[in-house]
């Protein structure tokens, strides 16, 4: 799937997505971008992801370690901290709740014309 998504909407959930991805598997910056593209979020570019990782690290939600690479300099791999896992759980619950409410409203059948107000 490769549809256009609202960039502001994506930016709002980027931290949550990153926390989820690194909770699945420890990853470095460029690899995370590739994984986001693989799930269909092709609009998210490197220039957005790397600072978001820096923010998560500053907030103590992820920790990083350098791992030697055969293909160049050492790579910085990220994994969630306990605080990061807690934030992921809370953020996922918030998102699901919001998505359920918004989804239910948007799924309602629309009349041909808006009804007149009282």
């Amino acid at each position: 799937m490769s549809s256009e998504h609202d960039s502001q909407l994506l930016k709002g959930v980027l931290s949550l997505l990153l926390l989820h991805l690194i909770s699945e598997r420890e990853s470095y910056g460029y690899e995370l971008v590739q994984r986001l593209h693989q799930v269909g979020l092709t609009e998210i570019l490197e220039g957005t992801v790397y600072p978001a990782l820096a923010r998560l690290e500053r907030e103590g939600r992820v920790s990083a370690r350098l791992v030697a690479s055969n293909a160049g300099p050492a790579r910085k791999y990220y994994r969630p901290t306990v605080a990061g896992r807690d934030a992921l759980t809370a953020g996922t619950a918030d998102w699901m709740s919001l998505a359920a409410v918004v989804g239910a409203q948007l799924a309602r059948r629309l009349p041909a014309e808006p009804q007149e107000g009282a």
């Binding site: 470095y28 910056g29 460029y30 690899e31 971008v33 590739q34 570019l45 490197e46 220039g47 957005t48 790397y50 600072p51 978001a52 820096a54 923010r55 500053r58 690479s69 293909a71 160049g72 300099p73 050492a74 790579r75 910085k76």
Partner: protein, 183 residues
């Protein structure tokens, strides 16, 4: 398909990394070095994957990227700038020295214009409040001078203006956070 990263590609990547670094001077030194390394490593990985041109394009402009990094470090609120403060701190005495020396020379030129063979000691109070008294000693129209330096008020204004230009009071919350983190 894996792309080959040539020395020219590496130079292009280094140019972007160092341009970004120049915009991150307000970050602590260690964070800046780590950011540089990480961006370089990710760009190299991207260059091997999609080619250097595309990897650089995907990264976006260094100005926006630097802004994102600074927001990540300090939040999106208005922030301080060590760079602006440093530039102001260094530039002001250079300009002021030039201006003050020009003013003192103007005083000497005035004396020589009035009395080409002037002999004696002449005193000028300097630029009001900012410059100390300038004393010229002339012998047959040839003079030496001393004084004319910055007054204590100048130094105070210089420091206060540096703080204002760099909005350095905004650095205090980040400094307190770092200190609390270390403790």
């Amino acid at each position: 398909m894996q792309h080959t990263v040539t020395w020219f590609d590496r130079l292009r990547i280094e140019r972007v990394v160092w341009t970004l670094d120049q915009r991150l001077y307000d970050l602590p030194r260690r964070t800046r070095i780590e950011t540089r390394r990480e961006v370089r490593q990710n760009l190299l990985a991207g260059a091997r994957d999609v080619g250097t041109t595309q990897a650089l394009r995907n990264l976006g402009g260094s100005a926006e990227l630097a802004n994102e990094y600074l927001s990540a470090a300090f939040g999106s609120r208005p922030r301080h700038s060590w760079m602006a403060a440093g530039l102001f701190f260094v530039t002001v005495p250079l300009l002021a020295t030039s201006f003050f020396a020009g003013a003192a020379n103007g005083f000497a030129n005035g004396i020589i214009a009035a009395r080409p063979a002037a002999t004696g000691t002449y005193t000028w109070g300097g630029i009001s409040h900012l410059q100390s008294t300038v004393t010229y000693t002339f012998i047959n129209g040839h003079g030496t001078w001393n004084g004319g330096g910055f007054t204590p008020l100048f130094y105070i204004l210089w420091i206060v203006a540096t703080i204002l230009v760099g909005r350095l009071w905004r650095a205090l919350p980040a400094w307190r956070r770092r200190r609390a983190g270390v403790a």
